[in-house]
Amino acid sequence: MAMYPYLPHTDEDINKMLKTIGVNAIDDLYSDVPELLNRDLNIPNSISEINLKRSLREKASLNDNIRDFGCFRGGGIYNHYIPSIVYQIGAKRGFLTAYTPYQAEVSQGTLQIMYEFQTMISELTGLEVSNSSMYDGATSVAEAILMAGRINKKYKTLIANTIHPEYIEVCETYLKPQEFNLEKINYDKKTGKINITDLKNKINDEISSVVIGYPNFYGIIEDIEEIREIIPKNILLIVVSNPIMLGAFQSPGKLGADIVVGEGQPLGNAPGFGGPGFGFFSSKKEFIRNMPGRIIGKTIDDNGKEGFVMILQTREQHIRREKATSNICSNHAHNALLAAVYMSIMGRTGIKEIAMQNYHKSHYLYNKLIKTEKFEPVFEGTFFNEFALKSKISIDKINKKLHEQKYFGPLNLEKITGEKNIALFCATELNTKEEIDFICSFLEGII
């Protein structure tokens, strides 16, 4: 019989155990199972670690990665510096091979990390409460909209059409079966910000919440305060944000947001082909009982020692079943850990520095690109670390040429939003002046 390194049973073990149970063969333990499968699964037989690695190396070699290649592409997932310590702590098996902290006394590691994570997210968003992670940015927005509906019992949401198109798609999927309406707010063609007139026109008594980006999908920074002033108090303002930006820029909470969510990947998580990152989710404290997901609280033990537990579990599905605030069970705790380590090591000074470098580098790139005369500005609004340009040359061609130079060029929005000849460029702290200068002069020469 084949041996598997993950399975400890010797033949002798099996025989002894069968005898104890009082059956003759393992198949006797399946006597209640209908015999519907009388063949082996059409999956290759087990292979050795050596051959497995060979096979995976071959597949891996068919990918190009954004460490070997320079990367000017964002669109929801960003290429940031990840200190070595982040994944090395992430690899600790005491974190990796533990589950949800159902039993607090043997999960204080997890619980304290999540409490610290919640604090850090709250600090960034400027809101009092954070949960300990969601799946991703997109589902966080969808859940935020549902949460707003639970709060004000209204079931229509206005969402800026400058929110990441994939997030809007996910919201549509989530909201439709609930008969929750989603209406889009147009953007101002000139600034790239939300069209205030359109917003005003669409606001009415039925509206539960308004969703805007900060920055939005085109990198533009919305005026949260202005928007907050326009929408009535009982309508919740949901802000979708980039957590790195919040290191230096005004926090949405301070500017009037009720719920702030977003994709946490930029905080120390590898791009990983888009997953797993994590969704962050925070709100005003008054809404805590309507929040989805796991929340950790501090308390004391029998001896008066401080410790942590999961709180408000009665919101959750395992207690409340169909009456729960959400069906979410597994979250992205391990990715939240990576983010917590990242924030611990960067500190407030570090995150601020990163945010400002993103701002300055992307503006430097912007200015240089405009000078090539191959691109025209699309929006006037202030942007963070990415921006849209109208390209005079085929963007696919540009990207093909840049790929030959070992760069991933801008995102061709045609594939995402359908807009033709619009390139979404991104620069982060990882883009050097040297490579920005290179691609700009390279693009200048392209025809």
């Binding site: 015999e35 087990s46 589950y99 960034l124 990983g272 009456k323 069970c329 597994s330 960067m346």
Partner: protein, 475 residues
């Protein structure tokens, strides 16, 4: 222990990035924070010691037995972690051109096929981020299918009283009403009861099989028949697939939709609560309803991402799901192979039955007889000593055993749900069986030691009331 914020010191730094090498762009001050977020200012060694200390406060599979029923806390192979850490997997941008991610796409394509074969399904999506997310996806598929095919009246979903809480919650999120079906004395779905509530408006039945009592729903073929004749779809909660890999397939039993928890059955680590991966498989007739996108192969053997799915329920997540998670499941499948996956299930069932048999000598089981990969103890027999299941759970910690799932399933009094998994050896099981025996003895002779447990952890029982009342949720 101290919070990282208490270890912060102004002016200390743990990061170092290159100085800005481009001219500074003006920025209107109004955009900027007046006060920085209160993130800790510390340095590498401090951070390392902080997490080193925190890690030691956790129980984990690597540390010891973790028989958390329904969670399948099996060994998470280190090989999978190593490979998922390769730059050519970790540093791939989701919007790279397809030509530059053929490796990833091939893996996804093959994994879709393997999971389809494993479950007896015809098409698979890798999008959902976790089991509950898969449930939602599956129920949305069912909803959209029914609506598209003129079954708008089908608004209800039957869920057994033994089901995971996510089942009703997910069905609800998908816009269904919930109808509960009671379990019979054998712990399985009561067929007569089922027939009674099987009205025309029933869209689907959600089942876990083996169910959360660890019992195989042996009437599954009859249930399937009942459902089919009512145009009701059958949904398979894959949380317990670890019992039956290579032995029987949901698709062959009549299920139309199935979600899998790759972080359970297929060995990807649970990571303190996630990330998981909750892939969903469907029968051919539901294929066009899958969320987008899925990976396909062209005639020229190139892999591509197909966003064009006729009746797709839409997106359920950004990008392509948790790639770095299901990559590990893919590696696990290749490691174990057709033969090894089957063996894993067989040994998981063997382990559970062995424990159940031995422990039956001194504990009450919720149901007699052969179980599958897990079994449930009825802890109420210790009531007379004033000892509750919760107490037993806490006392187990003193033996370096993670408590089983407790007070679930809801239909068993003082339930303790034990799932040893196949990666535990007979010697380990024998020790644990003895530990349980010791605790039962203690319950009878010295219940106080149990009621005040745990004794060997750094923190003893925590005041949950206070936590829920005072809501201290950040520093």
């Amino acid at each position: 222990m101290k919070l990282i914020f208490d270890k912060s010191m102004n002016g200390r730094t743990g990061f170092r990035i290159p100085e800005l090498d481009v001219p500074k762009e003006n920025i209107d001050k109004k955009y900027l924070r007046k006060e920085l977020p209160n993130l800790p200012e510390t340095y590498e060694l401090e951070v390392i010691r902080h997490y080193d200390e925190l890690e030691k406060l956790n129980h984990s599979v690597d540390k010891g037995f973790y028989p958390l029923g329904s969670c399948t806390m099996k060994y998470n192979p280190v090989l999978n972690e190593e490979i998922a850490n390769w730059e050519n997997f970790k540093f791939i941008h989701p919007y790279q051109e397809e030509e530059t991610v053929q490796g990833n796409l091939q893996i996804m394509y093959e994994l879709q096929n393997y999971l389809g074969e494993l479950t007896g399904m015809d098409a698979v999506t890798l999008q959902p981020a976790a089991g509950a997310h898969g449930e939602l996806t599956g129920m949305l598929i069912i909803k959209k299918y029914l609506e598209t095919n003129g079954f708008k009246n089908k608004t209800k979903v039957i869920v057994p009283d033994s089901a995971h809480g996510t089942n009703p919650a997910s069905a609800k999120m998908a816009g269904f009403e919930i109808v509960e079906v009671k379990s019979n004395i054998n712990g399985t779905v009561d067929i007569e009861e089922l027939k009674k509530i099987m009205t025309e408006d029933i869209a689907a039945i959600m089942l876990t099989n083996p169910n959360t009592l660890g019992i195989f729903e042996k009437d599954i073929l009859e249930i399937s028949k009942i459902a089919k004749s009512n145009n009701t779809l059958l949904y398979y909660d894959g949380a317990n697939l670890n019992a039956i890999m290579g032995k029987v397939r949901p698709g062959d039993m009549g299920f139309d939709v199935v979600h899998l928890n790759l972080h359970k059955t297929l060995s990807t680590p649970h990571g303190m609560g996630g990330p998981g991966s909750g892939t969903v498989g469907v029968k051919e007739f539901l294929k066009d309803y899958l969320p987008k996108p899925i990976v396909e192969k062209s005639k020229e053997d190139k892999y591509f991402i197909n966003y064009n799915i006729k009746h797709s329920i839409g997106r359920v997540r950004s990008f392509y799901g948790n790639f770095l998670v299901y990559l590990k499941a893919y590696i696990y499948i290749l490691s174990m192979g057709s033969d090894g996956l089957k063996r894993a299930s067989e040994l998981a069932v063997l382990n559970a039955n062995y424990m159940k048999k031995k422990m039956s000598e001194y504990m009450n089981m919720s149901h007699e007889g052969i179980c599958k990969h897990e079994f449930v103890i009825d802890g109420s027999f210790l009531k007379e000593y004033g000892v509750k299941t919760l107490d037993i759970a806490k006392r187990l910690m003193d033996f370096d055993i993670h408590p089983p799932t407790v007070y679930f399933p809801l239909i068993v009094k003082e339930a303790m749900m034990i799932e040893p998994t196949e990666t535990e050896s007979k010697e380990r099981l024998d020790i644990v069986i003895e530990n349980f025996k010791t605790i039962v003895e203690e319950a009878k002779t010295n219940p106080d030691i149990i009621k005040k447990a745990p004794h060997n952890t750094k923190i003893s029982r925590l005041n949950e009331l206070k936590a829920n009342k005072e809501l201290n949720i950040k520093y």
